[in-house]
Amino acid sequence: MAAPRPPFFAIGLLSGCLLAYEIALTRLFSMVLWHHFAYMIISAAMLGYGASGTALALLRERIAPCFNATFLATAAMLALAMPLSFLLAQQVPFNPLELLWDTSQLPKLLTIYLLVALPFFFGGASIGLALWRFGMQAGRVYAADIFGAGAGSLGIVAVLFFMSPGDLLMILAALALFAAAIAAIELKVPRPWLAKLFSGLALLAVVAAHAGWLKIHSSPYKDLSQTLNISGTRMIEERTGPLGQVAVVESTRIPFRYAPGMSLNALDEPPPQLEMFVDGNGPTVLTRFDGNLASLAYLGQLTSALPYHVMGSPAIRLHGPRVLVLGAGAGADVLQALYYRAGRVDAVELDRNIIDLVRNRFGDFSGNLYKRPDVRVHEGEARGFASAGAGQYDLIQVALLDSFGVASAGLYGLSESYLYTVEALQTYLGHLAPEGMLSITRWLTLPPRDSLKLFATAIAALEESGVPDPARRLAMMRGWKTVTLLVKNSDFSPDEIAAIREFSRTRSFDPAYYPGMLPEEANRYNLMARPYFYEGAVALLGPERQDFIDRYKFHIEPATDDRPYFFRYFKWDAAVELFSLRQQGGMALLDWSYPLLVATLIQAVLASILLILAPLAASRARETLPPASAALYFLAIGFAFMFMEIAFIQKFILFLSHPLYALAVVLCAFLIFAALGSWLAGRKQGRATGVRSVTTAIAVLGMVALLYLALLPDLFDALIHLPDPAKIGISAALIALPGICMGIPFPTGMARLACTLPDAIPWAWAINGFASVAGAVLASLLAVHLGFTAVILLAVVLYGGACIAIRGFA
């Protein structure tokens, strides 16, 4: 009788579904809550895989006689679990905003984490089963697994262009059912009706997806949910895309009138507006424009109008300023530029759906804003455009796109932003005309956070650009709700300083800083207990800057490309004090995102101990504990792999423009190249002990990592303007060598253990699984604190430790 053939197609399909599900979850979490939670999802995936490994190790003997049935059952359970676990997770009333108020939020978070891990448990079980059952053909099974995973992770990005993540979950369920049907055929299961049943169910899932059966419920505290509560509002357009769900809302009864931080002296009312939300966050407003500039007068009453009042050279007056708007959204800043008679406006927007909506669907409403000859719209990422752009501008405006609530609640504390780093500001300054200005508007938070961090970042950027006295090139204006920072490419002239004063006086905005400002000019209109902004700005420009930053109770150290967490203001010292003041209003000043990361780490460690290690410890396996060196080896390579992977994902966000693209491309590339490394290691095992191949791989990895740390920033800068397919190819090529090297230690260690202590293999899996679960979250925590460079170096050190440990279990 011929040896059974592994269900290659089914394995590939299941693996693709799992990776696609992992990436779809980041979209779903962005929509439902505020953050993509990539670190938590990767950790949950590792938990599912790890727990399935432990379950297989313990139940192997019982499963052996009924492989086919178990394989089909786990595939079917995966299909069921993908939509169901998300639906159940949606029923958990987890509210991150209440995390610090209410301890019951922690078990809710844990429930979501475990629910998210469930499909990975079933998926991991089915693939693990196949690898175990077809051990002789493990290489080919592994190849099908990796090929499927690669296709799934990239395929989903393409699918997200036309399908909403909710519908996609049902399609993934259908695919998993279809995989079960194929498996029934491939495995020649004696009950042919099974394949038909699974196919039928798959069709039903497709129908359910088409009918929009799976509804996504966003947090009621998100901007879109709150807006739709208002009587007379309705969503008039919705677009889906990998960068977010764009929703356009009109309000027939109560006009929106969005004018962030408009002067209290203003009497103007904004014209009719539509609001646009991306993943429920926003709004960015689309203002009706009929060509009559007078209707836009309110735009002159915002702090962001400051640069237009300061720019006064005769050439600019004659031809109008050349303006670059980064993050144009629905065009509010473009309108402001037109109001001030800009000669030319370049508007950069990442999301093609938003551009299309403004240009076509709402072209008439917007006065064909994005079709005007004096407005050129560029689809692309702000940093990439600024890096590649050959033009020079009189003004570069970085738009205020996040919402006040989100900014003030610290909801983006863990979100990477390469828009406000020292390197980003240097890039912008490089594209300014000799007298040009960079203008960045942020929400005002009290005590000051964003604005002082931005000011410190601007000082660092000027200093690193070789400006001897940054104090002469900076100005900052605060209203009651917004703050605008100006960074000039040359020293401010006396006329310009007079214009700043006049702008402040007529609008009752307070100057926070300008060259030559007197202390009594601060804090005159919007009074605070102390002139915090002025004092902060002066301290940051003085010799005691570092001391001030260290003593300040929020994290205002300049953000860099290595630590691009501009929105992180959390400091442990202050957190303790604020928590003690929680009943007195202190809680509102704490960011929730950072404690959430710590809570996720704790639950990841506990869950992996309970679900991966404890079952083994409670079984007969406790008698076959691996030697300490082997345990350390698998622990070290587990952590190191995750550190590298997470650091690369975060680092490539800059190059690939968006967390979702970075996650898909980097995960896919690591999977494929690590699998190649495993395959190479397997070929070599017959000839050498493995120690040499691990040492060589780690030595090469260490050198490549150091080389990348030195070269990647410049390389990204030089190539960031390339089209997406080219950047994806380059990313994959860059990951190839480290990926191959990282694929070698695990199978080599396993082979070595198989020779010496085969009964300890389940432990090696489990320990490695534990390290992967905890490592995914720990890497994010370390990146926030120490930066990506440190995380990558730490991974190299851990791999170095593994080199030593492997010699201990020969």
Binding site: N95, L97, E98, W101, S219, P220, K222, S225, Q226, N229, I230, S231, R253, I254, P255, R257, A259, P260, M262, L264, N265, A266, L267, D268, E269, F404, G405, S408, A409, L411, T445, L446, P447, P448, W480, K481, S508, Y525, N526, L527, M528, A529, Y532, G536, A539, F548, R551, Y552, K553, F554, E577, L578, L581, Q583, Q584, G585, G586, M587, A588, L589
Partner: protein, 237 residues
């Protein structure tokens, strides 16, 4: 076995509804004492006696959803549905005190929410005019306030941008609804010498308060107040 199950179930029910039969008045008094201590600890002046009395009288547990009544007298914000919250009592006390209202005053509130702030004001002033743009929320609040006997509060489900011109001018205005800017008509409807207070921050997160004062000559000034006694920079390490 069954007996233990029944006893256990009963115990669970008891734990789930611990608020029945509780002395809310004592709890409210304790909450007010906590609020006063918190305000003093933060260097805020003690609120006027009328504010204290009002906070002592208004039954906060009537303004939160039934399932949250046991948390009603904890000094924290609570969800009230529709993505809205009832403010932290310390913030309510501070806001009410900041506008310096007195008996005989007429106050406009933009953003009725649960109606709690309106009820506190109603205990002090002659009349409160409250506007809510979330219709169901406004309706619930209006019914609740009427049922509780707050006859001097009028609730209207309308756009608060233009205020309540028929009843203008007002001695004080409280804007609890999130707005991107202060509507100019509201400033116009403030009496000379009047005060307007606006809490700023996300739901559950009032970070600072803005107080707008309209002077006798019609000019306007504003103050921004951090409710908590937290100084971002302190001397030494």
């Amino acid at each position: 076995m069954n007996r233990y199950f029944i006893v256990g179930t009963l115990l669970c029910f008891c734990c789930a509804f611990p608020s029945y039969g509780e002395d809310y008045s004592a709890k409210r008094h304790k909450m007010v004492e906590e609020v006063l201590a918190d305000l003093a600890a933060n260097g805020n002046p003690a609120p006027g006696p009328d504010v204290v009395q009002a906070m002592e009288k208004v039954e906060r547990h009537r303004f939160v959803p039934d399932w949250l009544t046991r948390f009603a007298y904890i000094n924290r914000p609570l969800p009230i549905g529709h993505g809205q919250t009832i403010s932290q009592p310390v913030i309510v006390a501070l806001m009410t005190d900041l506008i310096k209202v007195k008996a005989g005053d007429k106050v406009l509130e933009i953003g009725t929410g649960s109606g709690y702030q309106a009820a506190v004001l109603a205990k002090i002033v002659k009349s409160v005019y409250s506007m809510e743009i979330i219709e169901s929320l406004g309706k619930e609040a209006a019914e609740r306030l009427a049922a509780l006997g707050y006859g001097n509060v009028q609730v209207k489900m309308e756009d608060g941008y233009y205020g309540w011109p028929a009843e203008a001018p007002f001695d004080a205005i409280v804007v609890t609804a999130a707005a991107s800017h202060v509507p100019p008509p509201l400033i116009a409807q403030l009496k000379p010498g009047g005060r307007m207070v606006i809490p700023l921050g996300a739901q559950f997160m009032t970070q600072f308060l803005m107080l707008v004062e309209k002077h006798a000559d019609g000019t306007v000034s504003s103050r921004q107040i951090i409710p908590v006694g937290f100084v971002p920079l302190t001397g030494g390490h």
